[in-house]
Symmetry: D2
Subunit: 277 residues, 4 copies
C-alpha cells in the first residue's frame, strides 16, 4: 500500500468535501487525515488529504477534474524527499541545523547542494559530503551574479530554494524564476524591524521579546507570506550582539520548523498569507 | 440560516467522511469547518462538523443512524450557551476570571450558580448577581456533604460542573452522577506533583517551570483526561508562596481556555485522553 | 523591623556598590536583595537594594548624598500600596483583571478611582465599590477634555495613571503633567502595528504570533519605554475579531505583570528603554 | 585589563556585600556585574561578581579569606573555555547541536573528546576532528565498563562531563568521581516521567505539553539539581514517536542553554537545587 497526499485549491461551493472524499472512497483509498479551510476573504477552499491504498493516479485525477469547479488546482504527491538547494552567506547556524537534522533523520530532505556568495561555509558543507558552490557577487552586477546563481541552482533542479541567512536582496526576475519555491528566514519578528540590522533596531527600541520569521520570498523585501514565527524573551542586559546570539537559536528553529511544514506539503499560499493544513 | 455542530464517534472504516459529508450535502447543509481524527490505538473515528443551513434534525439523524456502523454515537448540537454550576472553596482567581469573561462576553457561558464549601466567595458571586450556595462540609460525612451538594447542583440542571479550585476530593459516586461533565483545574503540570500542595513539592524539587492542568474528573484523583496545560517559568528566587502566586495566572488561564474548548463542543474523550477537534 | 527599597541612579564610577552597601552596613541595615546594572551606552549606573532594619531616613540619605557623585538620584521607598487612577474607554477585560487581582490580593494596589470617556464601565467599577467618573470627550476640544480629566485625576493625587485600554491619544501637555507616571497597554507587539486597529493590520499581514506591550507613555504615540511584552500564537483560522479576542488575555496579562513590576519599584527608565532590576 | 569572575558561597551575615565589594574596590577592580542571593531555607549567601582590572589573585583571595566567615568557599575564575568530555550513545541531535555551536562560536567550549558506548556517533565526531572513543558496555560488568570509561575520560582531565543522551545509568562511585561536574539531559519535564521511555509514558497519559530537563547528576536517578527546563506543546495527533521527534529540539536547546549557564560560571548548587546568578 502506498501513501500519497492530495492537495486541492478551488472556489468554495457546497458539497466539495463530500465530492472529493466520495471519489477517494470510490477508488478504495483510505483517508488517514483530512483537513480543509475556506478563506472567508477570498472564498477559496483549501483541502489536504492524506491517503493510503493502491493508486491509479490518472483516473483519480480525471475523476477529480470532472468533479471540481473551473479554476481548481489539484496535486497528488507521492511520499518522498524534496530536493533543495541551500543558499548561504557566512553564518553557519541555520545551515548547520539543517545539515544536522538531515543527518539524524529529523528532516526528510535531499540537499542537492549549498551555494554561497562567500567561501566561509564550504568546509562545513563538505564535512557532510555536499557540493559547495562559491558564487561571489564581487565585481558583478546583480543581474550577472543572479544569472550565475541560477545556472548553478538549475543544474540541480531543486523543488525549493532555502535561504539560510543568505544576505543578498533578490531581484523580481530571480524571484519569479522560482515563484512560490523560495523560503527565507528573516531575523526579526516581522513586520517589526524590516530591512537591515533588525537586532540593532530591536536593541535601540528596547523590546523585551525578539523573534524570527520564516516566509516565502516575493518581490517585496520581507513582505512575503509568513510560514512560521518564533520568539524569545530578552531584557535590558542584552547588548545588540547578545540579541544576535540569542536570535540564532530562534532563527534556526523557525527555519527548520517551516521547512518541515513545507516538506509535508502542508503549506498553501493564499494571497499574501499562508494556510497551513 | 442556523448553525449547528455535528459530533460523530464510531469505529473507523473506509468511507466514513464521504458518507457523513454526503448526508450533509443531501440535506443542503454547508460545511463551515470539518475536522476528524482516528485514534490509532483504539481505532475510534472522531469527527466534528460545523454546519450551516436549514436543519431537519430528525431526518438528518435518521440518515446518519442508517449510514453509520453499529456502536456509533452522534450528536447534533444547536448553538447556545452551556449552563454550568461552579464549585469553589476560598480562592477567588479562577472564579473571578470566569465571572469577568462572562461579563465581557469572552466566554459564552450561562453560570447558573456558584456553590462553595466555605462562605468566602459569596460576596464576589453576588457582585455579579449570581446565586451563591454555602454548603459547608463541617461535621458531615463525605456522603452527606455530597448529597447536599448534589441537591443544590441538580436544582439547576447544569450541562457541566466547573471545579474552580474546589479543594475537596470527590467520591466515585459523585463523579459517576456527572460522568464526563466535571472539569477541574489542578494546580500543577500533571502528572508532576499529584496530590496536595503541588507548589510546595515543586519548590522543594527546584523546578524551573511550573504549570497547571485542566482535566475531566474521573475516579482517580488527578488522573482524568487532560484538556489543556499551561506553564510559566520560575527561578531560585521564588519561594513556595511566590510560586502559588505565579501559578494563579496560569491556573485561571488554563481553566478558561479549557472551558472555551468544551463550550465549543471541541473536546472528545478517548480512553484516558482527550481528542480536541 | 521595617523593609524599604533604596533606588540609586547615577553616573557610573568604580566603587559605587561598595560605597552604597557600606553606608547600608554602617546603618545596620540588612540587604535582602541587591541588583544593579550599568547601561553601556549612557554610562548610567542603576541600583535597587531591598533593605531591612531600623531606618533613620534622614541620616541615611545624607550619607548617600555625600558619597554619590553629582547628578545622582536616590529614593528610599517605604513598603506600601501605590495609589492609581485607572483610565478606560469601553473594554472591560484589562480593568476587570486589575479589579480581580486587587480583590484577591494579587496586586498590592490602591485604586483611587476609575475614569472613563464612556459610561460603559461604571457598573463594573461600582461592583467593586470604586468611584467612577464619566468624563465624555464629546463636543469638547482635546484641551478641554484633558483639562477635565486632569481635574478629576488630580483630586485623587495618584502615584500612577493606568491606561487600561483608554482609546484616546494624549497631548504632550497632559503627558508632561504625569511624566514617567502613565502606564499604557498597546494591543500589539510593538513596534509592529503602531497606531490604530493593530489586530486588523496583523490579520492582513498574516502573522503567526500576536502580542501586546505595556509601556510608559511619552509624547510619541506608542513609542515610550517598553516595560513588558507578551505574545500568543495564532493561525490562518483566526479572523481579525478572533485575534482581538485572543489578544484580550495577552493584554490583561501583560498589563498586570507590568503593574506588578512598577509597584515593586523595579522599573527604571533609561533613555527610551527600561531597566528592570 | 583582564576579566575574571569571583564566586562566593558562605553563611549569610550582615555586611557581606559591602565587605566583598570593598575588597574589590581596594584592589582597584571594576565590578561589571554583581548578583547575589540568600537561600532562605539554608541561610547560605551566594554571590557572583564579574570583575575587570589588573588582578593580584593571591592578595585578593587572602583579603577575602580574612574577611569572610568560616566555612566560606570562594573562587576566582579567569576567562577561558571549559574543557569537556561528551558521553553519548546513539542519538545524534544533542551532540550535533553542541558540535555546531562550538563550530560557529556560540558555545565557548573546548571539546576534548567524545566517548560512546556504541559506535554510531564516531563518524559525526570525526567530521569535526574530535577523537571518538567507543567503549562498549557489552559483556562487561557495570564496574568494569565504568572503569574503562573513567580511564578514557581522565586522560583528558575535563572540567565537566556532558551526558548528551548517554543512555546508561551511572553508579554512585562513578558519580562521586566527578561530583558536581556531570551534566545530563533527561528527556522529560522532571519530575514527571522519571526513568525509562518518558515519551511513551507521556503519550499514554495524554499530556498536552512535553519537556526536557538539564540537571547535575547525583546518586539518585533523575533527581539531581535542575539547571534548566524547556517545554513544547503537543496534541492528540502526536504518536509516541512524534513526541520523541518533537522532543529532540527541546532536548538539544535545553542542554545547550544549561551548558551556556555552567560555562559562564553562573550555576551554584544549593542542596538539591540550583541558584543561577
Amino acid at each position: 500500500m502506498e501513501k500519497k497526499v492530495l492537495l486541492v485549491e478551488c472556489p468554495d461551493s457546497k458539497g466539495l468535501i463530500a465530492q472529493i472524499t466520495n471519489i477517494c472512497y470510490k477508488h478504495q483509498l483510505n483517508i488517514i487525515r483530512n483537513t480543509e479551510f475556506v478563506d472567508p476573504d477570498s472564498g477559496v477552499f483549501f483541502m489536504r488529504t492524506q491517503l493510503e491504498g493502491i493508486f491509479n493516479d490518472q483516473t483519480l485525477l480525471w475523476d477529480l477534474d470532472h468533479a471540481l469547479p473551473n479554476g481548481s488546482k489539484r496535486q497528488l504527491i507521492a511520499q518522498g524527499k524534496k530536493r533543495v538547494v541551500i543558499l548561504v552567506t557566512k553564518e553557519a547556524h541555520c545551515l548547520g541545523d539543517i545539515l544536522m537534522k538531515v543527518y539524524d533523520g529529523s528532516l526528510p530532505l535531499d540537499i542537492a547542494a549549498v551555494v554561497g556568495n562567500h567561501p566561509e561555509l564550504q568546509s562545513l558543507s563538505e564535512k557532510f559530503e555536499l557540493p559547495y558552490h562559491w558564487v561571489s557577487h564581487l565585481h558583478k552586477s546583480r543581474e550577472q551574479h543572479e544569472a550565475e546563481l541560477q545556472q548553478v541552482i538549475d543544474s540541480y533542479q531543486p523543488d525549493y530554494l532555502v535561504l539560510a541567512k543568505f544576505m543578498r536582496v533578490l531581484s523580481p526576475a530571480f524571484v519569479a524564476a522560482y515563484k512560490g519555491r523560495i523560503i527565507n528566514i528573516h531575523h526579526s519578528f516581522l513586520p517589526a524591524f524590516i530591512g537591515a540590522n533588525p537586532y540593532h533596531q530591536a536593541h535601540k527600541r528596547g523590546v523585551k521579546i525578539i523573534g524570527a520569521t520564516a516566509h516565502f520570498v516575493t518581490d517585496d523585501l520581507d513582505e512575503g507570506p509568513i510560514i512560521k514565527q518564533l520568539v524569545t524573551p530578552v531584557d535590558h542586559t542584552y547588548s545588540a550582539s547578545d540579541m544576535v546570539k540569542a536570535g540564532r537559536d530562534v532563527e534556526k528553529n523557525v527555519l527548520s520548523k517551516a521547512l518541515q511544514l513545507v516538506l509535508e506539503d502542508r503549506v498553501f499560499v493564499c494571497g499574501n498569507k499562508t494556510v497551513i493544513l
